[in-house]
Each structure stands twice: as C-alpha cells, then as structure tokens.
C-alpha cells in the first residue's frame, strides 16, 4: 500500500470556519496516491471538521447561528467555566460535529460532491493555532 502522512497548521481568527479543501487537495496531490482515502484529524477538543455546502457563505453563517442557539455560551447547564463561557460550548460543538473526516481519493484528487467543501470549525471566540494530521492511503491499482 502506498501511504503518506502529513500535517497542516491553521491559525484561526476565532469562532468560524476556514476552508481546508485546497490545502488537503494539495497534500493528496503530492502523496502519489491515485485511488484511496484521505483521513483528516483535528488534534483538539474545541475545534472540529465539517463537510458543508461551499457555494453560499450564508450557509455557514446560518450553521453558526444554529449552534450558538443550540449550545449557548454561558449556559446554566455548564459548570466547566474556568476557561471562559465559550469553552464548554466549544467542546459540545466539537462532539456534535466531528474531530475527523475520511474522504475518497480518485485520479489523485479528493472525490467530493460539487457543493462539498471541507472546513475547520473554530469553536472558541479567540484565535487559536490548530494542528491537523493527514493520512492518505492508496489501493493497489
């Protein structure tokens, strides 16, 4: 099996999404894998990965509004407040979305739907350095 391990570091600008699709695409392109899978893993519990509609930015704004309403900062349900009112919601948001995604690779590229983009979702209000581990594995073909 061909395989490739790589890393991406993203400095986020606080709560919100960063499009990772091209950066991950680039790692896949350099991996030498034609057909296989690409696993992306976020080494944090207050940021996560989503696959989301990539055409209209209001989709990600609406998603943020939904999550802010569903998991309110400073909710009286939460006792873990020592790192700020946005920390526990960030943990819950990360668990409701996902710490990792596995994407198909074909013809040496990510095989995504037309409207699918891969985003890092920073759930903390402040900016953070987020580290991602990429693993590209190939089928014998």
């Amino acid at each position: 099996m061909r395989g490739h391990r790589d890393r991406i570091v993203i400095d986020t600008q606080g709560r919100g999404t960063t499009d990772l699709t091209q950066q991950v695409q680039s790692v896949v392109g350099h991996s030498g894998v034609a057909t296989g899978l690409c696993h992306v893993f976020c080494l944090h519990t207050s940021a996560s990965l989503i696959l989301c509609e990539n055409a209209d930015p209001s989709v990600r704004e609406d998603l943020e509004r939904f999550l802010a309403d569903a998991v309110p900062d400073g909710s009286p349900l939460f006792k873990h407040m020592s790192e700020g009112p946005d920390d526990m919601p960030a943990h819950v948001r990360s668990i409701l979305t996902s710490s990792s995604v596995t994407l198909p690779v074909e013809h040496g590229r990510l095989l995504l739907g037309t409207w699918q983009g891969l985003y890092l979702y920073e759930h903390r209000v402040g900016s953070h350095r987020r580290r991602l581990i990429l693993t590209v594995t190939g089928l014998d073909d």
Copy 2:
C-alpha cells in the same frame, strides 16, 4: 493490500431513510476482501448516513420527529432560504449526523451489531438522486 472502489446511486423519495445495508454488503461480498474496512461516503450536503436500530421502524420515525423539532424548517435563525425552507435544515442535519461511515469487514461481510443498520438519510422534502462512493480495504490475512 486488496482494495475495491465502487459506487451506489439511490433515488430517494424525499425526507426519510433508505436501508443501504444489503447493497453495501453486496459490494463487500464482491470485493474479495475478507478482513478489513468499508468506507461509505455521501457526495452531498443535504443527505447523510446513519447507523440506526434496524428492528422497529418507529425508531427512525422518532429520529425524524426529533430532528424536525431540533432543526425546524423555515426557522427564523436561517437566512439561506433561496432553495426552500427545508434546505438549510438539511445542511444542519447532515452535519449533525455524518457524510461518511467506516464499517469493519470480517469473513467477507460487514461486521455490524445485531440491531445496526446503515441508512441513507434524505433531509430534503423532495426526491433526489444521491450518489455514494464505497471503498473496501483489506488487511493482509
């Protein structure tokens, strides 16, 4: 490594679940992989994949009622309305569930729990053609 790439196309009948277990099982059976993993990926942002109890259909009806309540169509939280009041909720539901699942394979078959079924979940009210990418990878055994 043995490996196999395949595709499944499902024409959904609008919002609700379609049992994929036998179709995916069949691809695994033809892959030649005895022990390994099967990755299923949904190329869309308004349909998703779930593993759900497979014995009592009321479980999936209750799940639908829960999601319809948690992520209401036409919610005032959502501004992305151009594709209809069910479009943005479909994106949120897809993110809260999952665009992909990875399942263990053993003895040339999916290794699932007794009550686990794999379902495509159409989140739009109307019917859509949904495409899935399957990747079966084998351990050397």
Copy 3:
C-alpha cells in the same frame, strides 16, 4: 500493509463515559503498526464513541447535562417506548455523536492532542455489555 484486528469488551455501569484511551493504546502497541490509522467501532445503537477533553471530569458531566436536556428521556416526541423512556434518547444520542472513530497512529502509538481522550459513552440508564471492534492499519514505512 500491516494490519491488526482486535476486540474490546466493556461492561458499562449505566449512563456515562468510560475512558478507552489506554486500552486502545495497548492494542495499537501490540499491533506492530508504527505509522497508520486505528479504527474503533461500537457494535451498538445506544452507546457511542466520543473524543473529549480529558483533564476536567466536569466537561463530561456538562456534556451529559447538555444531552439530557437536548434529548429528554420520555420526550413526547418519541413513540418507541417499549424498551423504556431512555432507549429512544439513547439512539438519538448515538447518532448525534458517533458509532466509530478513526485515529492517527505514529511511532507505534495513538497520535492524539494533549487534551484528547477517547471515551465509550453509554447512553442507557442501566449497565450493558458493549463490544468494540478495533482495526489498526499501517502505511509502508
């Protein structure tokens, strides 16, 4: 490709989390895989897997309080009550979290963030025997 299949059985003590990190670490250590991926799969639809902050136990208590509030036992939304008022919420919680996780392996160990722990989340009120399937796959390195 090097690969390894293993199993873990956990007898839960009812609703709540069990730290799996060391047990999964141990399987990875015995697998002979230096660089690769570890897939953990839960064979049940009312227990699931989460990656969660591992330093302050109040994070997991807050998460439980959030889920108990978001998916209430005995909710009038649910008709599937034959197995008790906590059964349908357990199915919903499992779907909102995840039945499986894939983790990077490096230097023969799980490559996790400093604050990331892997937990089995029992969503039923009573204790259950939960079975997990582990698959460790290695890159040629």
